[in-house]
């Protein structure tokens, strides 16, 4: 009996060891995988257990948190949500996060290691780290003016500071109020359904997450390529281009919207936006050299360069094309596509003497005590062209505003350079074209540094086709934004 009692006791001990091993397996070995399981609400509960950090425009915050006293306790709130949605994005309990809310989520939710002076201690005590704040580069006035001027039309505006790459305005319309998506209840589901099914795509951030054919606005890049590659030596010399121009190796005849393009000089062709001249120049530069210049301006960039930190879509210039395709690409058609951000960078690179600065949206980040824990410093993304080429392009862009297609962007007392674009698209180019205007402005004379570079795109289904042109629809918006930046 004693022996068997011991066996029974030993068996009990075995059961205890099995329990300890099982507990160790669940609590230590597999712990991380259970913590990350999508069915585990703890991550969500912890995430919303304290007020989220805030996003600042200038010295004012445009976000807040509401105590719901629910399971997921604090809910995101926004002041002027529609206006800043392309900047902030949304932070939803049910539908994830976008924009800076997503890109700076670690900091805003308190998970960022920079917020904890003693990470190991936090690991042990599991105390919550107060979240940090994000201070953006956005200029409140520019943002507001660009938003108001778009006046509900579909489109986008991006304004940059050419010498730093600071993003001063990032507007996309039609917009939405991110607060509608903050919660996870029935109302939020309804709002999500409504927004995702809306034909106008209010959730789409057109400024950085939508590419358009850039049309004639791309001629800035083509002109730079022609000058850089020695195809054009003198911008005032005739380019020997017939009008209409027959694309190499095809029977397609390219025509111009305006007259005076036959045998025009580069300067005149730029001011009048002659398709024929730029198609020919593109073919002469060649596909590879065109692609190289486009790349130098920021097209076909990798993911890293596109982090603002909100991720922008890459703009595309096709590599490997035949001569006719290069010609079409050179006038911003065919497969060439650009985000408004990219076209603002093109204008900024010209205005900054050929140096392209990496665009950024976050000035600095602070911890819970308001101490700065991270600062973005201006960074050269690369040289888009030689300073000499940039000088010539600046002259040409000024001509566009002074006597060419972009007169409506002129500002009294300031030097303004610009380029219009009216991009055809749709089947047989039947859809209402996109209107582009890219420009820069200097307040201190032609030799001074530019204060602002702007890209405006308007895609408006309701406007009359004749009205939708870079000079007509987009240039006035750019003018107001630049004017505000100069004041």
């Amino acid at each position: 009996m004693i022996r068997c009692t011991r066996h029974t006791a030993a068996f009990s001990l075995l059961l205890l060891l099995a329990l300890l091993a099982g507990a160790g397996r669940v609590q230590v070995v597999q712990s991380a995988s259970y913590d990350d399981n999508p069915g585990n609400r703890r991550t969500q509960i912890a995430r919303w257990s304290q007020p989220r950090g805030d996003i600042y425009i200038g010295d004012r915050k445009v976000t807040g948190s509401t105590d719901t006293r629910q399971d997921l306790r604090y809910e995101r709130s926004y002041t002027a949500g529609d206006l800043y949605a392309p900047v902030t994005g949304h932070a939803s309990q049910g539908y994830g996060a976008t924009g800076l809310e997503s890109a700076e989520d670690d900091l805003l939710s308190g998970a960022d290691d920079r917020l904890a002076p003693f990470p190991f201690w936090h690991e042990i005590t599991r105390s919550l780290r107060p979240p940090g704040d994000v201070h953006t580069t956005i200029d409140r006035d520019l943002q507001r003016i660009a938003y108001d001027r778009l006046a509900g039309r579909k489109g986008a505006v991006v304004a940059l500071q050419p010498r730093t790459g600071r993003i001063l305005a990032l507007v996309s319309t039609p917009s939405y109020d991110p607060q509608q998506l903050s919660s996870n209840g029935r109302d939020t589901t309804a709002a999500w359904r409504r927004l995702t099914r809306d034909d106008d795509q209010p959730l789409l951030n057109r400024a950085i997450r939508q590419t358009y054919p850039p049309g004639s606005a791309f001629k800035v890049v083509t002109a730079a390529a022609a000058l850089e590659n020695g195809v054009v030596g003198d911008i005032d010399a005739p380019t020997r281009t017939p009008s209409p121009y027959r694309l190499t190796g095809s029977n397609t005849l390219l025509r111009n919207a305006s007259g005076g393009c036959a045998d025009a000089s580069l300067r005149d062709a730029f001011a009048a936006s002659c398709n024929t001249v730029f198609a020919k120049l593109g073919a002469e530069v060649g596909g590879e050299a065109m692609a190289a210049t486009a790349r130098a301006f920021g097209f076909n960039a990798g993911e890293d360069e596109l982090r603002l930190p909100s991720p922008a879509l890459p703009s595309v210039f096709a590599t490997r094309q035949d001569a006719a395709q290069v010609s079409l690409s050179a006038i911003g058609q065919y497969e060439t596509r650009a985000t408004p951000l990219q076209m603002a960078e093109v204008a900024a690179a010209v205005a900054n003497g050929g140096q392209r600065m990496r665009p950024y949206l976050v000035e600095r980040v602070t911890d819970g005590d308001g101490d700065t824990v991270g600062v973005t410093r201006p960074e050269v993304a690369g040289s888009a062209m030689r300073p000499m080429t940039a000088q010539l392009l600046q002259q040409m862009m000024v001509d566009v505003v002074e006597r060419g297609t972009g007169k409506r962007a002129a500002i009294k007392g300031a030097v303004v350079g610009g380029k219009t674009g009216t991009a055809q698209h749709g089947v047989e180019n039947s859809a209402i074209p996109y209107a582009w205007f890219i420009s820069w402005a200097k307040s201190g004379g032609a030799a001074s540094a530019a204060d602002v570079a702007v890209a405006v795109v308007v895609e408006d289904a309701e406007a009359h086709r004749a009205d939708v042109s870079g000079g007509g629809s987009a240039a006035p918006i750019a003018r107001e934004v630049m004017k505000a930046a100069l004041d």
Partner: protein, 481 residues
């Protein structure tokens, strides 16, 4: 019974070691079982340990309040006072009625009961609208301690219980049949409702059955061990006349439980029966038969009974519901809870184990302990159970050495009950075995269970007292080879 050599070392039964060390040490001397040496009275140690148990429980209560409200709960003194009063009553009863009893049993019971109250109270706080469980649990604990005192007072010598073996069997059967006449709750017919009270008579039946098995096996040990009956494939079976009644009782138990769909209890009774039979007969063959029967039964149940099959499926793939988009199952929530606790736990009041939902305070109470106290706290808890049970087995060894077959068998039976209950539910919520409803002794919410467990403690106190008390008159005679 093996003859007891006189030279066996008295130190072998020292009460210093935990189960592990004890086992390792005693197994080496498997053929020289130590007689339980006379033990000094350990009232002082027991009082000290009780004070520690109350201190830990009250600390946990304060800790919960601090985490949830940022302040010490206003009723801390009431909770501490209530627990201390219960402990004091228990302590005095032990000092009066069983002065030589093991000083560890009562403090462990008080500590587990106290921690259980803290955990239930903590879960009450997460569901402010639902009916709170802690006050009722405290009331039941008081009833349990009352019964503990009553058992200590009424049962002068545990041997007296041997006479009531048959009556215990009848009472157990009645208790187990009773719920059939009441409506099923959550798929299991294990409840009896009288007035506003819900009782699980099956809980009480456990102790009664242990007493019956011990009495019957002790009386028929000889016959069961030295069989002259049939041999089936080399396995010698005891005569049918001896074996018949006991198998009948066992089969009836299982039958009733299958009707009541209480899988956990079936497992417990079966395990209890096999273990006690093995200890009584010294025959490993019983274990083989038992395991075979258990395997067959488990397989049959898993394939035939849909509710059992669901449990097995849920155990094999606890996260399947999430992948199918059907939501997070209870076992998955339990695993998430444990995982969230990690090594050190979130701290009392700071976990999210309320996500488990239904049965969070009863079947799944251990998940809350695992989440908020971590693997370290959970290990400490499990070691408390191990220590408790090891004292039961030691009493069995001591009583066996004193030729008290009934006492030894009863001690084994009670220890097995606590072991199996703790294991089956812990392993279930940890995903080690299919989940079966069972009450974590002392810790989980459940009046019948708390009361029964206090009776088990009272009986074990009696048994340890008997195993440890000096036997001046009988000592020379008993230790003769």
């Amino acid at each position: 019974m093996t003859a007891v050599p006189a030279e066996a070392a008295p130190g072998a039964a020292s009460n210093a070691a935990a189960a592990a060390a004890d086992e390792a040490r005693t197994r080496r001397r498997i053929d020289t079982p130590p007689p339980a040496p006379p033990q000094p009275r350990r009232g002082g140690s027991q009082a000290l340990l009780l004070a520690g148990a109350i201190a830990v429980s009250v600390y946990g209560y304060i800790n919960t309040g601090l985490a949830l409200d940022g302040s010490v709960p206003g009723d801390t003194l009431r909770y501490a006072g209530g627990l201390a009063a219960l402990a004091l009553i228990g302590h005095l009863a032990v000092r009066l009625r069983a002065p030589c009893a093991d000083p560890v049993l009562l403090p462990i019971a008080v500590l587990l009961n106290g921690l259980g109250l803290v955990l239930i109270h903590r879960l009450d706080r997460d569901a402010p609208t639902a009916q709170p469980g802690a006050p009722a649990q405290l009331l039941w604990s008081a009833v349990g301690v009352g019964l503990f005192v009553a058992v200590l007072a009424a049962v002068r010598e545990h041997q007296l219980l041997q006479r009531y073996g048959q009556r215990c069997a009848v009472a157990a059967l009645v208790l187990m049949i009773a719920p059939i006449f009441f409506p099923a709750v959550n798929g299991a017919r294990i409840w009896v409702r009288i007035g506003g009270l819900s009782l699980q008579p099956g809980e009480f039946a456990k102790v009664l059955l242990a007493v019956f098995f011990a009495a019957y096996l002790a009386a028929n040990r000889e016959a069961l061990t030295y069989s002259g009956g049939h041999r089936i494939r080399g396995l010698a079976l005891p005569p049918r006349s001896v074996l018949g009644p006991i198998v009948a009782v066992w089969a009836v138990c299982l039958g009733i439980l299958l009707l009541e769909r209480d899988l956990g209890a079936s497992l417990l009774f079966f395990g209890l029966f096999v273990a006690m039979l093995y200890v009584a007969t010294n025959r490993p063959g019983w274990l083989a038969v038992g395991l075979l029967l258990a395997a067959l039964g488990a397989f049959a149940m898993a394939t035939v009974v849909p509710h059992v099959r669901d449990r097995v499926d849920g155990w094999l793939a606890p996260l399947a519901g999430i992948e199918e988009g059907a939501g997070t199952g209870q076992l998955a929530q339990s695993l998430f809870s444990f995982a969230s606790g990690g090594l050190l736990g979130t701290g009392l009041g700071r976990g999210e184990s309320e996500l488990i939902g239904f049965a969070g305070k009863s079947d799944f109470i251990l998940a809350t302990a695992g989440e908020e106290l971590g693997l370290s706290g959970l290990t400490a808890l499990l070691l408390l159970y191990a220590l408790f049970v090891s004292r039961g087995y030691r009493a069995a060894l001591g009583l066996a050495a004193r030729n008290d077959d009934f006492g030894a068998l009863l001690a084994v039976g009670l220890s097995v009950i606590v072991t199996l209950q703790a294991f089956v539910i812990s392993a279930g919520v940890l995903g080690l075995i299919p989940l079966t409803g069972m009450v974590m002794p002392f810790l989980a919410q459940g009046g019948s269970s708390v009361v029964t467990n206090w009776v088990i403690v009272a009986l074990l106190i009696h048994l340890t007292h008997a195993a440890r008390k000096p036997t001046p008159a009988a000592a020379p005679a008993e230790s003769a080879p």
